[in-house]
Amino acid sequence: MKNYDSIEHVRGESLFVDDQLTPIGTLFGYVACSPIAHGRIKNIDMTKALNIKGVKTILTAKDIPGENQIGGIIKDEELLADKEVHFVGQPIAFVVADNQLIAHEAADLIEYEFEKLPVITDPRKAAEAGELIQPPRTFKLGNTDEAFAKCDFVFEGKVESGGQEHLYLETQGAFAYPVEGGGIKIFSSTQGPTAVQRVTARILGIPMHKVEVDVLRIGGGFGGKEDQASPWAALAALGAKILNKPVKLILPRQQDMKITGKRHPYSSDFKIGLNKEGKILAYEAAFYQNAGAAADLSTAVLERTLFHCTNSYFIPNVKATAYCCRTNLPPNTAFRGFGGPQGMFVIESAIAKAAEKMGMSTVEIQKKNLLDEGDEFPYGQRTEHCRIRRCFKEAEEKYNFFEIKKRVDDFNSSNKLFKKGFAVMPVTFGISFTSTFMNQASALVHIYTDGSISVSTAAVEMGQGVNEKIRAVAQKVFSVNSERIKIETTNTTRVANTSPTAASKAADLNGYATQKACEILLERLKKVAAKELNIEQHNNISIQQEIIFNKDEKTDLTFDKLIQIAYFNRVSLSAQAHHSTPHIHFDKTKEKGKPFAYHSFGVGIVEATVDCIRGTYQIDSVKVVHDFGKSLHPVVDKGQAEGGIVQGIGWMTMEEVLYNEEGQLLTNALSTYKIPDIHFSPDDIQIHFLEDAPNPYGPFQSKAIGEPPLMYGIGAYFAIRNAMKIFKPESDIEFKAPMTPERVLLSLYKKTFVLKPTN
């Protein structure tokens, strides 16, 4: 199957926002940011900055003609700080100049006076201080109090997981120019064109129909450009509107890292109760989410943590409470997995602790508690087409757990300073936006008179291959050559009121909408063909590989001819269709419902080797059995799995977001924030597609794939941990991710190494 976008990529011909030709006279913006984490703005002195030659204007909150508000779910975030700043890097002013160099120079010359206020960076401290963005939420199933009393074993513990920088290779950016009638056109690197449109309209105080947002593609998003692409587009639009000139704003890498939000760090408590056979009878968890200074998507992220707090296990008694904690860090945001990984890491830690204390193998406990068909999740939904046990069994057989264990044991008994460990990571991930209303999409399909086809949807191509999947859907409906089909840019004027490309749902929602729109056209074409061929029953007509068939007999009519005939008979060759996921609902007052269209299942096995002298490690292999449904594009799906896995491993191992107590980001560049490189990524990644696994809730039986594989990466943490335990069984290893080489070394030697006091 051809991948048209890929062909442009390998030639360097695909265009991103900063690559598009800009008109002569385009100006460039730079964001001037708060140097402190919390304080009142007493004065802003722009005299020196404005004296720089080439500076056109410096905009602040008072220059905003509309409402200075960019909050999505909760309206609690200003575009430009007005009276107070709440995190280091919060935009205060927007400098527009002849070029970026000048704009940057001027921004650095702006002088501020602040009255500093106390800084909180720890979510538990925020919770203690009452800094909660919303009241705590609790999911409940059964009765944990009663159940714990009946357990043979009860264990408690604390779990920490770190943030994660998205590190999309293309930084945030937008290009905006004024159009007639007071409107604005924006090219934005966003996963949410409608969010950009809504925020810009609000900032400029103009109706949404005056803001056109166009997205050709984006150079990686991973959630980081779902809501957080909007401010940069709005700033460029503000500059363009006020100066009546085109304005481009591309965030330099270090600024992007400093001022945009990341995956939420969590600090959590668990309590797990089991019987002596290893059956989990009760589980309690408390999640303290570090939301940063504004709500952004945090409440929705936190909700998904609750949805996935029991991962792939049926636990009859559950109580999980989640706290959305406001701190003085950049507002954290969506990141592949959207809170799910944070929830799963806690239950996996609880199981690991139970296994260690009970002297059982973790795999045994995992296996004993896997979900069965019809089991109830703490949020009330029951499993349907549950394939987690199938995946587990197939992984066990295909990759031979026994042999892996034997190989690891043999290695460990013959190596003194290097140790191997392995871990199994089952994943069950709910597919749908958990805010039910967002599960809608529409498509607009045109067939031109030459037979070429144009498809517009709400989906943004960001490397996940959604364009190819939509093309596959259109191609399947029409049964024509894929060359005929062009997937258009995502544009708010062509397709309105779009949900962001997120939640792994873009191919499902937009695929279905495309299918519907194409089917409307197909129906019309069949009628035209029936009339042309003098056949009464147009239902007998079909298109097969560009040729029109009657019943199963070939006719002389081709697709090209049919389109011509349709046009001259004044039949509309355009169709628009809307799709909304049926049968989903969720009642937040009861915290019960059926929020997901279906679940995605799979099992990964991760092996690692630890250098116990140096504290370093490598991930040797990741072997997966995953339920892809009936794949619309195997190359794309495999790539999503491989990429997600390595991103997940990164989160669990080397990717460490560090802030100091003043809220300054220490890891603000690629030289200090490390993501997996070509050598760290395991050479042995095997992805097995679960066979015979059609999905009745996905277009052409396909399944969503974007997020779930990331969580196999959690296995890397436990594989490393298991290797460390072999080297020093008595070592006390905290459940704290990422497991950096520093954590490995300190965990192994902290007890015996006495640090000398510094002179």
Binding site: L169, I613, E642, V646, L670, H679, F680, P741, E742
Partner: protein, 478 residues
């Protein structure tokens, strides 16, 4: 400050005037409108801006991959610059085809850099293997694919080209014949020659040093820290000076010219003769494009406490030659650092040579480095050792430690203690205590002070575990 520059950009001769300190990346994107070369980080850490640069040396074009974000355009005069656009033919090249088929590209932003690096690998090297082909992309970061499809591509192309290698073509004919590169590459040598003949070969400046604010050698740190300032300043490019690059063996010494790149040292047969594991050490130093431009002098005068090359040269007890154009002086590297980023060097002095004694027969050398990521990362702590022993008796020992002090540190007291001592677990345990007295690590993004102290101890032990496993009982150390 502008300069007339003549070079070949892909298939086109260019004659332009630019500030020589402008980065090649900015030139490509803003002036030449070649947007296939991307800006991902502007600090040489992502490789999205990778291009090839070919230089006529002894009537052969030698190509190398570089980060265009860190390369001052003044350095491309009379050279051939190859961007992704310069690799395109009407049909996809085999590398491009496999990248598509194997899922080696997703969002596409990093992809041109990978294609350039890998294409360069087959152009530059004489024989191919998958491992090295993958390593040629060690400076390219991808956030989408997990590299799996990219590795499959390298594997397939290597296999294919190894079959073709048997033909008796020149390298350039081979890669052009296999459609890795477009045909115009065959004529580039002639075109570069005529470009040079037309302009006259570059006349290097004498050694009198202008007191410009910026003297740029490889630029791999200066262009990261100060590129905006450089654009506004008068600058000196080392490439216009008579600063020697190259490595020679003379009178029991190895002498390395200040402008020698890390890659040249890594690939030097002289170095390999005395340091059989040199490639392994240098593999930890940085990406290929960085090593292709970073120089030994730059590494030393930059005075970063975690500089890797400096760490090695400290343990080799190297001597530096400093020249101000009219006079020279020598100083031991271990005496060169006066404090954080403070050197015993006058403004008009340039570091022209690094030299050290060839290790004695009973000498052993080792280098250790730990960073968050093994490759393409800055050390949390690094350490080198040169030890001269007779059985278990230490005759002479030099140990360096980086990341544990404001300067690249020579562990003087530890070395003094160990000299004339015997290698055993007890001695090493005592030495590790002394070592802790010599260091003053700080907590930062590369680790807490506590970690760095522990890590240095571990690396100190690792030297001996690696070099003298039979002399120590590991259990007594840990």
């Amino acid at each position: 400050m502008t300069q007339r520059l003549n070079f070949i950009l892909n298939n086109q001769e260019v004659d332009t005037s630019q500030h020589p300190g402008m980065s090649l990346l900015d030139y490509l994107r803003q002036e030449a409108h070649l947007t296939g070369t991307k800006e991902g980080c502007k600090e040489g850490d992502c490789g999205a801006c990778t291009v090839l640069i070919g230089e006529l040396i002894k009537d052969q074009i030698q190509y190398k991959s570089v980060n265009s974000c860190l390369l001052p355009i003044g350095d491309v005069d009379q050279k051939h610059i190859v961007t992704i656009e310069g690799l395109n033919r009407e049909e996809l090249s085999p590398i491009q085809t496999e990248m598509v088929n194997e899922g080696g590209t997703q969002c596409g932003f990093c992809t041109p850099g990978f294609v350039v690096s890998l294409s360069g690998y087959y152009l530059i090297n004489d024989d191919y293997n998958t491992e090295d082909a993958i390593d040629s992309m060690n400076g390219n970061i991808c956030r989408c694919t997990g590299y799996a499809g990219i590795k499959r591509t390298a594997h397939k192309i290597t296999k294919k080209l190894n079959v073709a290698l048997n033909n008796n073509h020149s390298k350039i004919e081979l890669v052009v014949g296999e459609k890795i590169l477009p045909e115009y590459f065959l004529d580039v040598k002639e075109r570069l020659n005529s470009l040079i003949n037309k302009k006259g070969s570059k006349v290097a400046d004498d050694n009198s040093n202008s007191s410009y604010l910026y003297t740029i050698s490889g630029g791999t740190d200066l262009m990261v820290q100060s590129w905006e300032d450089i654009l506004k300043s008068d600058i000196t490019l080392i490439s216009d000076k008579n600063i020697i690059s190259g490595i020679k063996e003379e009178n029991g010494k190895i002498i390395i010219g200040g402008a020698t790149t890390a890659s040249a040292i890594e690939d030097s047969p002289i170095m390999a003769k005395y340091f059989p594991d040199i490639k392994e050490y240098f593999s930890l130093f940085g990406s290929l494009p960085i090593k292709n431009t970073a120089t030994v002098a730059g590494n030393i005068v930059n005075a970063s406490p975690i500089a890797d090359m400096t760490n090695i040269f400290l343990a080799l007890n190297s001597t530096l030659t400093l020249s101000n154009g009219s006079s020279k002086r020598k100083i031991l590297l271990k005496d060169f650092y006066k404090g954080y980023k403070t050197l015993d060097k006058k403004e008009n002095e340039l570091l022209t040579f690094v030299s050290f004694n060839i290790p004695k027969e009973n000498s052993f050398f080792n280098f250790e480095k730990v960073s968050k990521r093994k490759y393409l990362d800055i050390a949390s702590v690094n350490s080198s050792i040169l030890i001269d022993v007779e059985k278990d008796l230490i005759n002479e020992i030099n140990i360096s430690a980086g990341g544990v002090s404001p300067i690249p540190l020579y562990l003087k007291k530890t070395c003094e203690f160990l000299t004339s001592n015997k290698i055993n677990s007890k001695t090493l345990g005592e030495a590790s205590e002394i070592l802790q007295d010599e260091i003053s690590p700080i907590s930062d993004a590369r680790g807490t002070a506590e970690y760095k102290s522990l890590l240095l101890r571990q690396l100190f032990y690792a030297h001996f575990i690696k070099l003298f496993p039979e002399l120590i009982i590991i259990e007594e150390l840990l």
